[in-house]
């Protein structure tokens, strides 16, 4: 094959990293530098309640039966306008059984965010969580739903653990030996990687939503209100920059439960490592933290502080945050897809 033919073949092969999260769907492609992000929500509205003008600047799906589904970011705006709740295809990290009938809408959302694939050979690595160690929830169904979605779109697909994708994105300097920890909304995912091979992976049901639920219960508040305060004011540096007493009390409670979450996670990492990893690690490895729940200032320092209270079965070279908690997983998935294409 000539160089020209090789180049042409290369142009026709597209690698894609697709991070399917509870809050966001993030997609990165090998043929451009932009990463697409959309909210993983949609809103079904009655066509009689909306005019063509209102729909002109938003993304929506129209069915033969004249059903209208507003998808992505705009769904929230219109939900407020119509005083309705948005529909969430995923719940606590996995496909929601309540919304599985909307699989067509989810398929179109994913097809939309992947973009143009006409006349191209497309390979997609998509993120999946690991099996939970503290809750009876299987990921097999979730994995198979997205396999079916990607198959219907017409792409080649492969499932990759979400925390492992963090290692692919952030641990090239350590030759892909490291621990990836993703603190999402519904789940915490953890993966231990040794030279690019998964040595251990697991998830827990305690993460961002758990913190909000516990605080809401303790302070007899609505969970959404706690989430709103957390996103607006939360810092884990020890200082609280608000004067309102009620808000201050919420932030103090949140701080307590953040510590409880990190403590629980560290204990689980030690336990699972001792029970399931036979290999002895001779070299120190980094711990890389990502996910929306880890975004407040001071999270990584708090993690280091709690970690120092325990004797670990491995040596830690450093604890650091990922470069961009929103795009790290999609980036890592893209690297894996390209690496796999080189091995074929």
């Amino acid at each position: 094959m000539s160089e020209q033919e090789k180049n042409e073949n290369k142009k026709n092969v597209i690698s894609v990293g697709l991070d399917i999260g509870t809050m966001n769907i993030v997609c990165s492609r090998s043929d451009n530098n932009s990463i697409n992000i959309t909210r993983n929500v949609f809103l079904k509205i009655d066509k009689d309640n909306i005019s063509i003008n209102q729909l002109s600047n938003i993304s929506y799906i129209k069915s033969d039966e004249d059903e209208i589904f507003i998808i992505g970011n705009d769904a929230f705006d219109f939900a407020n306008l119509f005083n309705k709740e948005v529909s969430r295809p995923m719940e606590r990290g996995l496909i929601s059984p309540k919304e599985i009938s909307a699989i067509d809408v989810l398929t179109i959302m994913i097809k939309n965010i992947i973009g143009d694939i006409k006349d191209k050979e497309v390979y997609v690595s998509y993120s999946i969580p690991a099996e939970s160690v503290d809750e009876e929830r299987s990921v097999i169904y979730h994995q198979n739903v997205f396999a079916r979605i990607l198959k219907s779109i017409g792409v080649n697909y492969s499932a990759v653990n979400e925390a492992m994708a963090i290692v692919y994105s952030e641990c090239a300097n350590e030759k892909y030996s490291g621990i990836g920890v993703s603190f999402g909304a519904g789940m915490m995912n953890c993966c231990v990687s040794l030279k690019g091979i998964e040595a251990l992976k697991f998830s827990t049901a305690r993460s961002g939503d758990w913190i909000d639920q516990q605080v809401a219960k303790d302070l007899d508040m609505v969970k959404n209100r706690v989430t709103s305060i957390k996103e607006k004011y939360m810092k884990l540096t020890g200082s609280v920059d608000v004067t309102n007493k009620k808000t201050k009390r919420v932030l103090e409670a949140l701080f307590y439960y953040y510590k409880a979450l990190i403590d629980y996670t560290v204990k689980k990492i030690i336990k699972e490592f001792n029970e399931k990893v036979d290999v002895e690690l001779t070299d120190p490895i980094p711990i890389v933290i990502s996910g929306g729940t880890s975004t407040p200032d001071g999270f990584v320092d708090l993690f280091k502080s709690i970690l120092s209270n325990y004797e670990l079965p491995f040596e830690v070279s450093e604890v650091r945050a990922s470069k961009n908690s929103l795009t790290t997983v999609a980036n890592g998935l893209l690297i894996k897809t390209i690496a796999d294409s080189k091995r074929i």
Binding site: N36, I37, S56, N57, I100, A172, I335, R343
Partner: protein, 183 residues
Amino acid sequence: MIKLKVIQKGIFLEIPGIKPIRTPAEVDITNIDITLVLSYLRKNGINRYQIISEDEKTKIKEIITETDIKKKTKYDSDIDKKINNLESMMTKLLELQQAKSKLDLEQIPKRFNQLETKVNNNISKEKIKKPEIEELDLSFIPEIDLSTMEVKGTTTHNVINQENEDLEDKADLLSRLINNSEE
């Protein structure tokens, strides 16, 4: 002279060697084999009889009461049953042993071949079954039909631009590491 005296009424005696006669009767059985007579009497359920011999050397068989006969016959029949059962068990056992002894070295490879064929048939059946199970799993996922749906309007997802210069290098390194570990 030996006489047979049958007291039981209403029986038509047809002992070989003697003229048929209806009971109660008294017949001369001197010239007839005594075991034959006894066998006949037993076979026909005649249990009230007397055999009288004028010869002193011959013993007299007394008339036995019904209850004694019943007990005795019951006892006899039980023993007979058990002996018969034992005989049949012994016969079966002997037959089995004979059958086993017939299994010589030439038959063993035959049996192995039969077993192998059976196992292969089962494996091929299993292979056929597996795809059905996989299809059942996927049937829990609803079918996707995009033919009735159309995306309209403006795409409004957020776009982040970032440099991907070192993506290829990272992917190269990962690919090499995974290949090395597989070797």
